[in-house]
């Protein structure tokens, strides 16, 4: 381990074409001291968010001209428009993260701080000894930092306290008026119809109706958990952290994915309910009447293929937007959220006796 660069990768940042609306349009590039104007490609320092010309960043040795934060440019188009931030602090030329302006610690920096440059924003990061190259800059940044920081008491603790009180009142009021269900004593010899899991697992129970239980109840949840955990290791640019949907394009992707998933989920549920995919295939291919074979083909392979196809279709329907990695993440995470909620809803409100579909207002009573 020699020095801070050993064995650690600098952050990745994306190229952002500048338009007249970009937040950084007209800001001064700290490398060449010229303004960044519309039409030019810019990058933002992942730590202090100061805009640089794309080429100035590379000329400067792929480090920020202000705080020497290293970052490599990801060769793929970023977002054209400015990230839509409502209510971002005004009057701050280049919004800064707290303590981010402390000059990057030189060689002897702790490995962790170097591992990901933004980690240097930890309040504890000490200004490096010998980093006093510009005390004027240090003072300016201290002033900016103070302006961007509020004391925890009362600015954070008061809202926290209030929301805690509201929560306690809300829950108590609800608990006062609505009683928790308690049915008859359990009876292993008498199965209520329908028997349902709690609502947050009804999405899995819904999948169970359409495919092999091992696939629905074990394989798919495991894959979901693993994929969720993998998100931050696939989407590794960090210069749009803190922006809802990463801007206008991400919001568009969100809506496309929402509509797409909603329609497909309903279509598949209805198709299986009224056409009966399993029966259709078994009738078409008589050998599948053998039950273990049918289990493999109609209950495992066909559902898996359909889910893959729907997933690929989602990518195709956002491809025209030239999605960034983040956009792809938004598309699939949204598909997960919408499908998850929708299936839980179908299971709770639309499934009646024998798990047949009913309109909620026509639901026959549960045979307890």
């Amino acid at each position: 381990m020699s020095g801070s660069e050993a064995g650690v990768k600098p952050a990745l940042i994306s190229v952002r074409p500048t338009t007249a609306e970009s937040k950084w349009a007209g800001k001064e590039c700290p490398h060449c001291k010229k303004d960044i104007s519309a039409g030019e490609n810019a990058v933002l320092c992942p730590k202090c968010y100061t805009p640089h010309h794309k080429d100035c960043w590379t000329t400067h040795g792929n480090v920020c001209a202000l705080d020497q934060t290293p970052a490599n440019i990801m060769e793929r188009a970023g977002r054209a428009a400015a990230p839509a931030v409502d209510g971002a602090p005004v009057g701050t030329p280049a919004p800064v993260k707290p303590a981010a302006e402390a000059p990057a610690p030189p060689k002897a920096a702790p490995v962790k701080a170097a591992a990901v440059p933004v980690a240097a924003a930890v309040p504890a990061a000490k200004p490096a000894a010998g980093g006093g190259a510009s005390s004027a800059r240090a003072m300016r940044s201290a002033a900016r930092r103070a302006q961007a920081q509020l004391t925890t008491w009362p600015h954070l603790l008061m809202p926290e306290f209030l929301s805690a009180v509201l929560l306690m009142i809300g829950l108590t009021v609800m608990a006062w008026f609505v009683n928790a269900p308690l049915e008859e004593h359990s009876n292993p010899n008498h199965t209520p119809n329908p028997s349902k899991a709690p609502w947050y697992f009804l999405n899995l129970q819904e999948l169970l109706l359409h495919m092999h239980p091992g696939l629905a109840g074990v394989v798919i949840p495991t894959i979901i958990i693993v994929l969720l955990m993998a998100i931050p290791y696939v989407d590794i640019t960090s210069d749009d952290t803190g922006v809802w949907f990463s801007g206008a394009q991400g919001k568009k992707v969100f809506w496309i994915s929402t509509v797409y998933t909603f329609l497909w989920a309903w279509a598949l549920i209805l198709a299986d309910e009224f056409v009966g995919v399993r029966a259709v295939i078994e009738n078409a291919i008589p050998v599948l009447k053998i039950s273990w074979l049918s289990e493999i083909v109609t209950q495992t392979m066909v559902p898996t293929a359909i889910m893959w196809a729907v997933a690929v279709g989602l990518y195709i329907s956002i491809a025209h937007l030239k999605p960034t990695v983040r956009d792809v993440m938004i598309a699939y995470f949204t598909a997960f959220v919408i499908a998850w909620i929708l299936l839980a809803l179908v299971g709770s409100a639309f499934r009646g006796p024998a798990m047949v579909l009913y309109w909620p207002w026509n639901m026959p009573p549960r045979i307890a």
């Binding site: 931030v85 509020l150 008491w153 609800m174 998100i231 931050p232 290791y233 803190g242």
Partner: protein, 251 residues
Amino acid sequence: MASGTLGQRPPTGAQVWDWLRNGRVFKSIFRYSYPSDRRNRIMTVAKNVFLHLHPSQVPRGGIRVTYTWCLGGLSFMTFLMLTVTGVLLMFYYVPSVTRAYQDIQDLETVVTFGMLMRNIHRWGAHMMVITVFLHMCRVFYTGSYKPPREFNWVVGVILLVLTLLLSFTGYLLPWDQLSFWAVTVGTTIGGAAPIIGKQINFLLLGDFEIGQNTLIRWYTLHVIALPLILSLFLSVHFWRVRQDGGISQPM
């Protein structure tokens, strides 16, 4: 100055207040008076065992309610309320197939505020599933999982799974038809796992069918094991929020 001595005349309200607020007892608990300037406000948070979970200052952008929607905080508050009401329920509930259902009925009918406690615990459990899920959505859509916060996102996913497990293990305890058959459905799903399905099913039930062994397993998981594990991951979660430079903020 603390005026502990009271004159001949009855003390005015202000004197009593001053005596309470600046007397030896109060000062031994809270060393400092109300913090009205920046420096003292910072000290208040930094020196208080409960508050020092927070940084003493926070970036302006990170505390907008429309940014976090307080969802992490609400999840935590709900967890605390569940702990308190859960302890109260434990005073009355015995995890035995011959008593459990009767104990719940007693809670609802003869125990003072028993019904209220049970209701708060039940609705709180649903609420926590919702707030944790929404918190995950907030974190995702604001891109707050990005470096350097990758690992805290992973810890978060574990917390989500633990929250679901806590909720589900509690579901069995009333031992009524609803809980019995919900758990039957749930454990049958586990039993459908490829290759080791039968073993998983036995592990979940402690038997070949739901019975006393199942109840004691799920009870122990619900009141001790899972809350402890969740608290452990929660500590890591909160610690990492600070280690990763405080919560992310809009640029």
